[in-house]
Amino acid sequence: MNLWLIPTIPLVGALANLTLGRRLPKAAINAIAIGSVLFSFLWVLNVLNSLGPLETAHVERYFTWIQSGPVNIGFDLMVDRLTAVMLLVVTGVGLLIHIYATGYMAHEGGYYRFFAYLNLFMFFMLILVLAANYLVLFVGWEGVGLCSYLLIGFYFLKKSAGDAGKKAFIVNRVGDFGFILGIFLILGTFGTLDFAGVFAKAGGMPVEATVGVVTTICLLLLVGATGKSAQVPLYVWLPDAMEGPTPVSALIHAATMVTAGVYMVARSSALYMKAPLAMDAVAIIGLVTAVLAATIGLTQFDIKKVYAYSTVSQLGYMFVGLGVGAFSAGIFHVVTHAFFKALLFLGAGSVIHAMSGEQDMRHMGGLRKYTPWTFMVLLCAAVAIAGVPPFAGFHSKDAILLAAHHKYPWIYWVGVVTAGMTAFYVFRSIFMTFFGELRMKPAGDHGHHGHGHHDDHGHGHHGTPHESPWVMLGPLVILALLSLGGGYLPVLHFLEPVLGGEHAPHESFLVYTSVAAGVIGIALAYILYVAAPGLPGKIAGALGGLYRLVYDKYRVDEAYDAIIVHPIRDGSRSVLWKGFDLGFIDGIVNGVGTRARGVGGVLKLAQSGYVRSYAAWIVFGAVIAIAAIGFVAVGGVR
């Protein structure tokens, strides 16, 4: 079935662009980039079409990767229903975003570099979802992390971009630390890393026999997932990741990569279902993340930041879904979220494009008459995410909430509140951006804030905002349709057989409540940002410290710096390096040297140059020798 073609073609595209791109015209670069993704999309369709219903997983083994003693890992790829879903999302959304990017990045430097990285990302992401064992999955896992590092740091001239990229990579490393330990433990426990083998063995074992170690495994995997999927406490990298170009934010930090954690947990559902404790941990972490991020989202003004925190919050939702056992619901939300969140980001990108690089919503407003299309598509996305029936978000979110209520009702209620907040901040952004009148700063001034790299966006048309070209709007429209209708995709029924997890009974009351929460949120947003624009400031003032705390994202970054980063760095410098290495050890080493010279300095004083003192030495030695050999009959110092 040549599954390997699916990831390899984008890889080839990436390499081609990396090596030759410098000399190629933009058209060629586009052709390579989009062509490769398009190919793998089509190939995915072809594969799924020919594999049929996928009752059982289809595995392809290529070559032994690592073979040593107990470790025997092949480079294997597989397709089952979960993979199929992810494949379609990744390649499909990925394709759209590639197309969009050709327009968005049209005037950027390092064009070829950008698309090379993007293709490389596709390669690793596809490896990740196609992997047939944990280590190959880990390859994709680390690979996408690398690409996100490269793409976040794409504008490497800016220090902030570099920092953000570094932060992303390192925080992910912390997650991977847990993940790899989990892998060690899996191999130690089950003797293999193949999904099939592991789950088969896990299924075979009695719960009480394995619960301890399996729980440990699941928790370690969870650590990995929190890193990649930006959950508490490792979510801090994602908002900064918005330093990257908007299409990157859409593809990697909204639609695909960040959902890898969800995918991995869902993939390991067989293990998790044997570790209730771990399940609860997943749910709690998801919930905390959802609430925390949502609250922050309420207060931000940078449009991309708003959507970033929204992403974190939505990922939290997915984890709640997984944690309460509704794996397929979680994945379903991954799919719909991919649609509307990608759309939100791309739309935001279009807005930024229109505003020639402006990202602060306080300087926007009334855009709907300048950029009607962007407005329309963003509206679709908004209603989708707000959970307004019958649009995409409604279905997935409801599935999760119902399952949550089925397990822990209180989680449901918190979820509902969060849903309300979600609806609020999304529409807040819509209203601030498209309603009211333009609060744009005088032209030529925007270069100073906003972002330097966007300056070349402004070329030609300062002043009035402008609608984006069709190459950007096209994908937007498609995504808009998907956000609207995506809820009717049969993902749930497709997945439940493979992922298991009990199906929650449908209770209309609960549905109405959550919808109501969404509506209330929208209404509040309208009141505050359209009807009575003065109000938010007052409320903020009223809340005072609390507001500022939330506005400063609970100062988590500062806390991490103060508690972890600085102590380690300064400690290493002053204590370990200066103190121990240079001070202690080299002190000893050089000390020995100086001592030796000192001893020598003393010893050579015997050489006073006076014959008679020399004679004295000889006599002295003679007496000693005579005494020793003559009288001290030692049995021999041997």
């Binding site: 006073s608 006076y610 014959v611 008679r612």
Partner: protein, 109 residues
């Protein structure tokens, strides 16, 4: 200790040896104490004489003249040493015009 009458006629061999030891030691002392190079050298001669005395005493003990031969050779050596040593002392005196042994101490440490 042998009894008195015998003592009148005969001397214990050990007395000779003790005498030679004393002379040897005095030679050592002279070497250590005297500052005039020539005197120092003479102290060495004194030591050699002490050694000779022992040799001869011992060859009396064994009743064979090997010891005499040995001390004869010692005298020859002493003569040769005297010639060379005094020549060296002369050169030193020529260059430094001193016979104080402690003045000849530029090479040190």
């Amino acid at each position: 200790m042998p009894q008195l009458p015998q003592m009148m006629t005969a001397v214990p061999l050990s007395w000779y040896l003790i005498l030679s030891a004393i002379l040897f030691a005095l030679g050592v002392a002279g070497f250590l104490l005297r500052r005039n190079i020539i005197t120092v050298f003479m102290s060495i001669e004194l030591m050699l004489n002490a050694v000779n005395l022992s040799f001869i005493a011992f060859s009396y003990k064994w009743g064979q003249p090997d010891g005499h031969i040995f001390s004869f050779f010692v005298m020859v050596v002493a003569a040769a040493e005297a010639a060379v040593g005094l020549a060296i002392i002369l050169t030193v005196f020529k260059n430094r015009s001193t016979l104080q042994i402690d003045d000849v101490s530029t090479l040190k440490y």
